[in-house]
């Protein structure tokens, strides 16, 4: 009922202390919204992509990009038209369709969106979920809240996987060669798939709750930990890196 988001590999990010990794994630997420030059944002995206390629690997980079591609296309197509002032790039008679500022704004938004997506998914792809839970608790997050966060991040892929399976099931249930396959029909067929995914998600709620209780969730005694973070031996260095990277890059690229 839950799925792993971890992708086994041996890159340096896998050996980076999860506590420092969470700090780095939070600081970099904040960094992306600071007044940074477009060049700076672009450089940061390249660095993030390089880290992704050298850690989980190209398959991860590609699959993550594919999953957000519709959103990026939507953003690139529509965001530029929100900025009406500035130097016109495309004009139809006297009407300015696209301005330079609008295009740059869209590019900035797209870079931020892609960077945020890769930063968040990198954390879960390179850190086993129990260690994320331990790291969150190290930041004094209560156990229940940590468990809910980690369950959510394993439950959502389960639902996504369910969607993929239901979609496959629909493909197998196409009636035959003489079936109606108009484009509108294809779009319409998304509705039962989405409905089915929702039904699957709703149906699994009581089962998941029961399974958690059968595994002892809710007991009065204190839970112990099977995992610990003692295998990370460069905690101080990792924290130092996590603090320095955002600060130095801000000083270099501030607008």
């Amino acid at each position: 009922m839950t799925m792993n988001t971890y992708l086994s590999n041996t890159g340096w990010l896998y050996r980076f202390d999860p506590r420092a990794k969470i700090l780095l994630l939070v600081l970099l997420l904040g960094w992306l919204f600071l007044p940074i030059t477009l060049t700076g944002l672009g450089c940061m995206l390249l660095v993030i992509l390089f880290v992704a390629l050298s850690n989980p690997g190209p398959r991860f980079v590609l699959s993550t990009f594919t999953s957000i591609l519709p959103m990026i296309i939507f953003m690139v197509l529509f965001a530029p038209f929100n900025v009406r002032s500035g130097t016109g790039l495309i004009t139809i008679r006297s009407f300015v369709l696209l301005t330079e500022e609008g295009a740059l704004q869209a590019l900035r938004l797209a870079i931020r969106f892609i960077s945020i997506t890769y930063l968040a998914t990198l954390l879960f792809a390179t850190t086993p979920m129990p260690e994320i839970l331990l790291a969150l608790q190290w930041y004094r997050l209560p156990y229940n809240a940590s468990l809910i966060i980690t369950l959510a991040f394993t439950y959502v892929p389960f639902i996504a996987d369910g969607f993929a399976r239901i979609e496959e099931s629909h493909r197998l249930r196409e009636a035959g060669m003489h079936v109606e396959r108009k484009r509108i029909g294809k779009i319409r067929s998304l509705i039962p798939t989405l409905t089915s995914s929702l039904v699957l998600a709703l149906r699994s709620i009581p089962t998941l709750a029961l399974s958690l209780e059968l595994r002892g969730y809710g007991r009065a005694n204190k839970r112990t930990r099977y995992h610990d973070l003692s295998s990370y031996r460069r905690t101080f260095t990792d924290f130092l890196i996590s603090g320095m990277v955002p600060v130095i890059s801000f000083l270099v690229f501030k607008a």
């Binding site: 799925m3 792993n4 971890y6 409905t195 709750a209 059968l214 809710g218 099977y226």
Partner: protein
């Protein structure tokens, strides 16, 4: 009705248990159990045989306190588990008292990896880390899933999932185990392992099953039949015979004497196929390749595919029906190479888990779904075909699939494909949770027009009843036995 002799301490005492699920939309559903009374002494090994759709899984959930708490209904009677009255105890406090291994193992996973799943309950018990590590190592080793410790639930086969749950139960070490169709999904090696465990353990075992397997002989000291909403105890020596009568397994084999000589014959075949499977989250055993040098399935014949858990049976099935692409090789029908989308419409694949293939609010809508997409079929014709199909598979058109029992959902899954009338079908562990007779009847229905059928199963008795050629997977290679 007969209960076991009163012992000084019983692991389970069920007295006058009656239950019916909450009805929807004013419907008043029939009761599943009426004044059900039975008990199992401490250390007893009990087998509860029940035809499909008789409420085994519901009973399992009731015995661990999950019903009516999470699945509303009216429950009457008294249940004592290891001396604890279920009315006075929370589910989580039964953790070190009773363990339930579900029929559908996927629904019980709460952690993200195999190792974490086995350890989760031990953390709840508050055990020291050293003790947890010892128990987890022992359990993973015992059930042969050491190399899968980092694998995600979604990367496991059905049999591997079941072994994870059994490993979690072993690590937990509760004195009373409720095993709902625990032998299903396991290959022969692990069925024998589980049988040995039941034979040698001092724990109380209650196994639910809808088939009497060869491994059950002399394994249990108590055998019950769940019949007409009540439990009755039967002699262990006569259990197989009595259950065969109850479940209809003594009826003539629906597949016997069938002949499809007159039909236009098609052949599904492959040449030098290589199927790949990867486990992205496991550090070891990340990928394997399954070689299929040759495979042929003709119209009208039934072929079985056997192999150990996780050997790639489902991966091969996905390639054969066009859901996945092979790494190498070609898939053909009548020697014509076909792509995935063509195979989608020629090879019906009934997933191991029916819940991934049925999703509409009613049986009627579920059965009508594909027919409505066929050009030229009138509403009257669709209704007629749907009604006939529902009769054949003993389904009620107004029922809601999500509240139907697991075997009924499997029957509905098969009924959906029956209406599609594919030339080939792959049935992935169809026999799970079904009686032999009902599984054979479903195959008979699907084969009415001479479809070629590939059956994936771990049950040798089932293969014998089905007959036909057998392919096996050994050391990453498919060959005809």
């Amino acid at each position: 009705m007969e209960s076991s002799p009163i012992s000084s301490i019983n692991s389970l005492d069920v007295t006058n248990l009656s239950f019916s699920y909450q009805g929807w939309a004013g419907e008043d559903p029939p009761s599943l159990f009426e004044n059900l009374t039975f008990s199992i002494p401490e250390g007893g090994k009990a087998l509860l045989l029940a035809p499909f759709d008789s409420g085994k899984s519901t009973l399992g959930r009731i015995l661990v306190g999950g019903i009516p708490k999470y699945f509303p209904g009216t429950l009457e009677g008294a249940i004592k588990v290891m001396g604890h009255d279920l009315a006075d105890i929370e589910i989580w406090d039964l953790l070190d008292v009773v363990t339930l291994v579900s029929q559908n193992p996927q629904e019980q996973f709460v952690a993200s990896t195999v190792e974490e799943e086995v350890a989760f309950a031990l953390e709840s018990l508050g055990l020291p880390q050293k003790e947890m590590r010892r128990r987890v190592e022992d359990a993973l080793t015992s059930w042969g899933i050491n190399e899968l410790r980092q694998a995600s639930n979604s990367e496991l086969s059905g049999g591997e999932r079941k072994r994870v749950l059994l490993a979690a139960a072993e690590a937990l070490d509760a004195p009373f185990w409720i095993l709902d169709e625990a032998f299903d999904d396991l290959d022969l090696r692990w069925r024998e392992h589980l049988a040995r465990f039941i034979q040698t353990t001092d724990k109380t075992i209650l196994l639910f099953s809808s088939r009497y397997l060869a491994q059950f002989d002399r394994l249990f000291d108590h055998v019950f039949l769940l019949e007409h909403k009540q439990v009755c105890r039967v002699d262990t020596e006569q259990a197989a015979g009595e259950f065969a009568i109850l479940s209809g397994d003594v009826k003539p084999n629906p597949l016997a004497g069938r002949s499809f000589e007159h039909l236009h014959r098609h052949t599904l075949s492959v040449s030098d196929l290589v199927v790949e499977r990867q486990r992205f989250s496991a550090s070891q055993a990340q990928r394997f390749h399954l070689q299929v040098p040759t495979f042929r399935l003709h119209s009208g014949e039934i072929v079985s595919l056997v192999g150990p858990n996780g050997s790639g049976k489902s991966s091969l099935s996905r390639v054969l029906c066009g859901l996945d692409e092979p790494l190498e090789g070609a898939r053909m029908i009548d020697d014509e190479v076909l792509d995935g989308s063509m195979l989608n419409r020629s090879v019906g694949y009934l997933f191991q888990n029916p819940d991934l293939q049925i999703f509409l609010p009613t049986v009627k809508e579920e059965l009508s779904y594909s027919l409505r997409r066929v050009k030229g079929l009138s509403d009257e014709e669709i209704s007629k075909r749907v009604a006939e199909c529902a009769d054949l598979f003993e389904l009620k058109l107004s029922h809601t699939p999500s509240t139907m029992s697991y075997p009924k959902r499997k029957a509905l899954q098969a009924a959906v494909y029956y209406l599609l009338d594919r030339p080939f079908y792959i049935l992935d562990e169809l026999d799970t949770a079904l009686t032999y007779h009902s599984a054979l009847a479903i195959i008979g229905h699907l084969q009415r027009n001479g479809a070629g059928i590939l059956i994936i199963t771990h049950d040798r008795q089932f293969i014998t009843r089905v007959g036909g050629r057998v392919y096996q997977i050994e050391e990453g290679r498919v060959s005809e036995r």
